[in-house]
């Protein structure tokens, strides 16, 4: 057909660099039917990359997208995609760094809660795709002798995640994604923590009080019930262990129970 030696060679490195840098020239050696370099043709690939990855990000973070508006999100997503292109072809895992990116993005310093809204949405997605597992039957705890109860540890359910925030992260996420019609007034001075679980196919989000958040966090990290309850009591004087624990169990936060001898 043609001799390859007289033609410029385009390798994946130069093709890839040009894809993510809109200022760079179309690599020499990519042509239209007339053999001429064709920037507009190359831009189809550039556009596919940025637009498809921005859309993937928008599907994972619809609440952040609503908060920022379509146009701002699009511009922001372009900046994120260029700075943090995906490392894996599995796009359900794309966007792990988005929350930190939002925290550090100078033009958004006036909206410091955005990062935590993204953390909540990321945790929701992890719960959605987590391994299926039956939650711990609360009756199992009743079988433990009272003397051993304090030594009980729990196995976290694969879908269980917590997000703790200085901001009313659930109120904001609820108003902008999960229950936009139910949302009430948002008090920006109210810190909120949530537990996210998926005992079967539906992802659930539970707002936790300070003591409940401390207890759940410690239990998910494998601490004993006695240690976790002690810290929760310090956090929150009105903390009720039986209420918080039964809420955790009902939510499906755990998949198993361990007794340390």
């Amino acid at each position: 057909m043609r001799s390859s030696l007289s033609h410029p060679q385009v390798d994946a490195a130069s093709f890839g660099r040009a894809l993510l840098d809109p200022q760079s020239a179309t690599p020499d050696g990519l042509t239209g039917p007339d053999g001429q370099t064709a920037p507009k043709r190359f831009n189809v690939y550039r556009n596919n990359v940025i637009v498809s990855l921005s859309e993937a990000l928008g599907e994972t973070f619809p609440g952040v997208k609503t908060l920022l508006g379509e146009d701002y999100f699009k511009a922001l997503a372009r900046a994120f995609v260029t700075a943090h292109p995906p490392l894996s072809p599995v796009l359900i895992w794309y966007g792990a760094e988005f929350a930190d990116f939002l925290d550090a993005f100078p033009p958004l310093q006036a909206y410091p809660y955005l990062g935590d809204v993204a953390r909540l949405e990321w945790a929701w997605l992890q719960a959605y795709h987590a391994a299926d597992a039956a939650p711990l039957d609360p009756a199992r705890l009743g079988e433990v002798s009272p003397q051993q109860l304090g030594d009980v540890c729990f196995t976290p359910h694969p879908a269980a995640h917590m997000v703790t925030s200085r901001w009313p992260v659930w109120a904001i996420a609820r108003a902008n994604r999960f229950e936009p019609d139910e949302a009430g007034a948002i008090d920006l001075a109210e810190p909120q923590s949530v537990l996210i679980t998926r005992p079967d196919m539906d992802v659930n989000v539970f707002l936790l009080r300070a003591g409940g958040a401390a207890l759940t966090m410690d239990l998910l990290q494998g601490q004993t019930l006695a240690d976790a309850a002690g810290r929760a009591q310090e956090e929150d004087g009105s903390f009720s262990l039986s209420d918080c624990l039964s809420d955790c169990l009902a939510a499906g936060a755990f998949s198993g129970l361990l007794l340390n001898d």
């Binding site: 057909m1 043609r2 001799s3 390859s4 033609h7 410029p8 060679q9 385009v10 390798d11 994946a12 490195a13 093709f15 890839g16 894809l19 993510l20 020499d28 050696g29 990519l30 042509t31 239209g32 039917p33 007339d34 053999g35 001429q36 064709a38 920037p39 507009k40 043709r41 190359f42 189809v44 690939y45 596919n48 990359v49 498809s52 990855l53 993937a56 292109p85 995906p86 490392l87 894996s88 072809p89 599995v90 796009l91 359900i92 719960a127 959605y128 795709h129 987590a130 391994a131 299926d132 597992a133 694969p158 879908a159 998926r198 196919m201």
Partner: protein
């Protein structure tokens, strides 16, 4: 859930995909499909959407798989890439093949990863000897790892490589000869690429190695113009199949007989009945041809 599949002998052998029309499976359509018991030949899924550990995607796919033949279509393996295949990704593909035992398994003649970056687009490869060797090695590795024959899809391209030394047809034909893989003939891609590179789609199809084709794709494209004002078609999968593509499809089926045919509609996805109607239109063409062939035989 895996054990459910394995215990059903009809599914254990991987129900063959019939020479009928199928549709790309979309999460929003699953409830409609299962409720109405849609009469359709098969469903195809993008493998990468089912690489999470569990949750609703697998529950839905399991339910669909119990009722319909399945085609598993990878979009991220980067078979045309310059670097070795991603072993973890290949294992995920292999695991999905074992879990769902699809009747067809396909990937693309394209690359999408380089260094540590995944670009999420089907990027073009030069048609030269070095690339041919690499693609064949990669396909050998896929077929050995997954333990089955794969179909390789012809691409939509927007640029040509000045360094190419052979035609796309020669390139594909040589891959088939060396690796024994099958081909997924995307007729929309043929129309898009031939328009973009000012070639005849009919000539391309007349010379296509049809004996290797195990599946056909049909999809919609978006019209644009290139730098010199020439038509530039973009493989957008965002609308109905174009009339020109339907015509090429009729010609291919008329000349070669019916084949499993997928309607791809991945962006601006319509309501289920609209997608089903596209599949039914393809089914009518497949059935007509099958009928005409039977008459000929009599």
């Amino acid at each position: 859930m895996v054990s459910d599949t394995r215990s059903d002998p009809a599914l254990r052998c991987g129900a063959a995909v019939p020479a009928r029309a199928g549709a790309g499976l979309k999460a929003d359509h699953v409830a409609d499909i299962l409720e109405t018991g849609a009469d359709i030949g098969f469903f195809e899924v993008h493998a990468e959407n089912y690489m999470g550990a569990g949750g609703p995607p697998h529950r839905q796919l399991q339910a669909v798989r119990e009722r319909y033949p399945l085609s598993l279509h990878g979009v991220g393996l980067s078979i045309g890439g310059e670097q070795p295949l991603d072993k973890d990704h290949l294992k995920r593909l292999s695991d999905l093949n074992r879990r769902y035992e699809p009747g067809l398994f396909s990937e693309h003649l394209a690359w999408s990863s380089h260094d540590t970056t995944y670009f999420n687009d089907l990027l073009p490869v030069p048609y030269d000897e070095a690339t041919l060797n690499r693609v064949c090695d990669h396909i050998d590795e896929v077929q050995e790892t997954v333990g089955r024959r794969m179909l390789l899809e012809n691409p939509s391209t927007y640029v040509a490589f000045a360094q190419s030394t052979m035609s796309e047809l020669d390139f594909l034909g040589e891959i088939v000869r060396r690796t024994g893989c099958g081909l997924l003939l995307d007729i929309n891609n043929v129309h898009v690429s031939c328009t973009n590179h000012e070639r005849s789609a009919s000539d391309y199809l007349a010379a296509f190695p049809m004996a290797a084709v195990g599946e056909i794709h049909l999809g919609g494209h978006a019209p644009d113009r290139d730098d010199a004002g020439r038509p530039l078609l973009i493989d957008a999968h965002d609308r109905e199949v174009d009339q020109a593509v339907w015509q090429l499809f009729e010609d291919v089926i008329g000349a070669n007989g019916p084949l499993p045919t997928l309607i791809e509609w991945d962006n601006n996805v319509p309501a289920w009945p609209v997608l089903l109607a596209e599949a039914q239109a393809a089914d009518r063409i497949l059935a007509q041809t099958a009928g005409a062939r039977r008459k000929q035989a009599v």
